[in-house]
């Protein structure tokens, strides 16, 4: 694998993760638990979808085969998507959406902090913009984790259930393969082991503050690095890609 191939795949992985997460979150717009929070979550959705767009535009450029970001988003099938599986899971109730979001926001915060130092200037630039956004996302979702954890018995149970069910998808976030190896050597990619320690620490503190129990000894799901997904992704893509697939000659 050439460095350029690795960079393309790596950027796709990051772009896809943001795209699919944004797609899921956007299902909440207009249906939030109250109006102020509906708008707040949509701001997060907008940031994340914007990041996806920047990353896929860059991936298209790196690939150099005159595909566009939209081609990458709308004309690839699920086996060629590399988003982390946790992003494609259904939103569930609001506790589940918030817990997932906190897990990812925390990961993103430390991840993009590292990526901002990348020797690849474009990735570093996208990361620098993203850090500011993600810092706020994490503040928002962490405060909700705390409210749910230390709110009512019902909210506590819902948050704990979400945590127990989602934890098996967190291992994937830190998996590294040949792509990472090649790019770490070039000073382009992030060593996810560095991120993992910080993420663990933050989550431990947050969950403790929220009176929630961190799941231990969980068997981790895996697959997305190889384009293997849950059953949900193909449905997400069927919906998202419907128009461009139905009207292949059309421009929108």
């Amino acid at each position: 694998m050439t460095v350029n191939d690795a960079l393309f795949q790596y950027t796709l992985r990051l772009g896809d993760t943001n795209l699919i997460l944004g797609q899921r979150l956007s299902e909440w717009t207009g249906h939030g638990p109250f109006l102020e929070e509906d708008l707040a979550l949509t701001n997060i959705t907008l940031d994340i979808t914007g990041t996806a767009k920047s990353l896929l535009e860059y991936a298209a450029l790196v690939e150099g085969k005159s595909r566009t970001a939209d081609d990458l988003a709308y004309l690839r099938n699920d086996r060629h998507y590399f988003n982390a599986q946790i992003t494609e899971l259904p939103n569930g109730d609001y506790a589940r959406t918030i817990v997932r979001q906190a897990i990812i926001d925390c990961f993103d915060f430390y991840f993009y902090t590292e990526l901002a130092k990348s020797k690849d200037e474009t990735l570093a630039g996208i990361a620098q913009k993203s850090i500011k956004e993600v810092t706020y996302h994490l503040r928002h979702t962490a405060s909700w984790v705390e409210r749910f954890g230390d709110g009512t018995e019902e909210s506590h149970n819902k948050a704990q259930t979400a945590l127990n069910e989602l934890w098996q998808y967190t291992g994937e976030l830190f998996e590294m393969n040949e792509i990472d190896e090649i790019l770490i050597k070039e000073g382009i990619a992030v060593d996810l082991n560095l991120v993992k320690a910080k993420w663990e620490q933050y989550m431990t503190d947050l969950l403790q503050k929220s009176t929630l129990v961190k799941p231990e000894n969980v068997f981790m799901q895996t697959g997305s690095r190889k384009g293997i997904h849950t059953e949900y992704l193909a449905f997400i893509l069927a919906e998202m890609q419907a128009l461009p697939r139905m009207y292949p000659d059309a421009k929108w």
Binding site: F34, E36, L39, A40, N43, Y136, S143
Partner: protein, 95 residues
Amino acid sequence: MSDNQGPVWEIFLQKKAGQPFVHCGSLHAYDKEMALQNARDLYTRRGEGISIWAVPSNAIIASSPEDIGPFFEPSNDKVYRHPTFYQIPDAIGHM
């Protein structure tokens, strides 16, 4: 506890450093941190501000329309509070 939308907060925004905080609207939030975050998410979506005050609506003491006479008219005839009331010799220039 009965369901409700939470207390109303009044939001004040500062547009640029050094400028006064100006009332921009209201919103609902259940606690202080949420009030601040909701204000950010609602009232600064287009870069309208750099700093926020969130004040519980019920903490605001407002004058009444009937106060308009006794409160504000007495100051209308205190011309000596304005710089134009005073004559400065031309030789002094700007003061």
